[in-house]
């Protein structure tokens, strides 16, 4: 019965207050022109604001990503620039077109489409053909975001949906054509990513075969290895993350819990069986863990809002990542892990409702 009512109202008749159905923005912000109509603007309290806006937040995230993106151009050459440009442009075009079709104000200025395009590009190999990038952005912007009503409503991280769709549909393009550092396009070498090398050796030799000396660690940290555009430079990604934490855009909880869970879980397995399970530090600094933990899992819209929920979310991402990395068919599990945890976000929020100040006593009183 309840179901029936819930279902009918929103489907047949949009509830009042839905932005799209406004006839005209009458009770909107006060007109800039002085001297027309009444003198004062009246609204509910509070009457002041700290000035932070959504587009400001988006821009800060883009700034934090910029060093890693620029560095990817340095490493992978102009190919990387091409991927970045196509991705950002197609994301913006898809956003504008879908908002036009849905008769909503075109809100490119909030920069969220730019960010999605940038993030998706960072998750693609530098060899991606142009159509791959466009298809990925179509899924990211149109299917994963605008169909749900746009920014704020998408239950899954748009960039990750784009990436995972591509990963499943075009595995060859997404996983087999890696090139390593080439310094502006000279002598590109085709190799596998460290994680898939590990997986391959496990399958063929029966044990892992990865060199993990000081040189290798350094290479992994600065991004001198095969991988997607943005996932290679751990140092720059971490700096971006610190910048965002310092600017109070993201909290430390998700990245720390995510990376911590990966480290702890792989560490335990490494302790018991070093021949089959790689060093935890190797797991932490390879693959897309940093970009995932710092820039994707922390996406406001698709992660829980409660403090406890955020901790659970981060840890869950880490655990699922390790599950997939160690035993799954895919060498890398960060994107899947985040998407899966995105799906649990509504439930996490629901069951980690913060306890109201002074609530303990009411329950006692009511009993």
């Amino acid at each position: 019965m309840e179901d029936n009512m819930e279902g009918k109202t929103p489907e047949e008749k949009p509830a009042a207050g839905v932005a799209a159905e406004k006839p005209a923005p009458r009770p909107g912000p006060m007109p800039k022109k002085a001297g027309v109509g009444p003198r004062f603007v009246v609204s509910s309290s509070p009457h002041v604001h700290d000035g932070r806006t959504v587009s400001q937040i988006m821009r800060l995230v883009i700034i934090a990503l910029a060093p890693a993106a620029l560095y990817s151009i340095y490493i992978f050459g102009l190919d990387a620039l091409r991927v970045l440009m196509i991705s950002i442009a197609s994301a913006m075009i898809f956003e504008a077109i879908s908002q036009k079709i849905m008769k909503r104000p075109v809100a490119l200025r909030d920069s969220s489409a730019v960010l999605t395009g940038l993030l998706l590009a960072m998750n693609l190999p530098s060899t991606s053909p142009w159509w791959l990038i466009v298809v990925g952005n179509f899924f990211a912007i149109v299917i994963a975001k605008q169909l749900y009503g746009g920014l704020g409503y998408n239950p899954f991280n748009p960039a990750l949906v784009g990436r995972v769709v591509l990963l499943i549909s075009f595995p060859v393009h997404m996983t087999a054509r890696w090139v390593t550092a080439s310094r502006f396009g000279t002598d590109a070498v085709t190799t596998a990513t460290p994680l898939s090398r590990m997986k391959d050796s496990l399958a063929t030799l029966g044990h892992i075969d990865i060199a993990f000396g000081r040189g290798e660690i350094f290479d992994l940290l600065i991004g001198n290895r095969a991988g997607c555009l943005g996932e290679t430079s751990i140092v720059l990604l971490a700096l971006g993350g610190l910048f965002l934490i310092w600017k109070r855009v993201i909290s430390w909880r998700i990245p720390v819990m995510f990376i911590g869970a990966v480290w702890a879980m792989t560490g335990i397995f490494h302790l018991f069986d070093p021949a089959h399970y790689a060093d935890p530090s190797f797991h932490v600094i390879t693959g897309g863990l940093f970009i995932g933990a710092i820039f994707m899992a922390t996406d406001y819209v698709t992660s829980p809002v409660t403090k406890k929920g955020i901790l659970i979310f981060g840890a869950g991402c880490g655990v699922i990542t390790v599950l997939i990395r160690l035993w799954g068919a895919y060498p890398e599990g960060v994107s899947f892990a985040i998407l899966l945890m995105n799906a649990t976000t509504p439930l996490i929020d629901r069951y980690t409702k913060p306890r109201v100040f002074g609530a303990v006593d009411t329950k006692k009183a009511a009993a």
Partner: protein, 193 residues
Amino acid sequence: MPKLIIIIISAVLVNNFVLMRFLGICPFLGVSKRVSTAAGMSGAVLFVMTMASVVTWLIYHYVLVPFGLTYLQTVSFILVIASLVQLVELGLQKISPALYKALGIFLPLITTNCAVLGVSVLNIQKEFTLIETTIFGAGAAIGFGVAMVLFSGLRERIDLCDTPIPFRGTAIGLVTAGLLSLAFMGFTGLVKL
């Protein structure tokens, strides 16, 4: 023992009945508007699936095989499932009329839920023992429940979304189900069964 664990992981995550095998889509879309009804449905399916697995296995191995009637597999299985569903329906109406109302037509429809028949047939196909059958049946139902509850949580949230009017309701629900099963693809190859 390890095989049982593998069976459970396989049924719940890797080969999730709803999201990977695409069985039982009807109630998955029909009664997933609220977490509470989704959980209730999952409970009913858990009961029916586990019981059906056990009973059909017994019938198959102790009635159909000895008498050489294995061609009656589908018919007899459906008979068993239908009776079990009737039982659940009667019981639920008594125990929780609210849930009974909320589930509505989808409760009797468990009968034609391919997930239940699917699990029974798979049990026979994969030549499970009775214990494995029970575990697989329960695991499949838990997988169904996990998918249901996750999906209903998402749907409750989508309900509050500003979805374009043509996509409201089932349309956006299907898109979401697609994205959810996309995420579950990550578990591919986790265990081999």
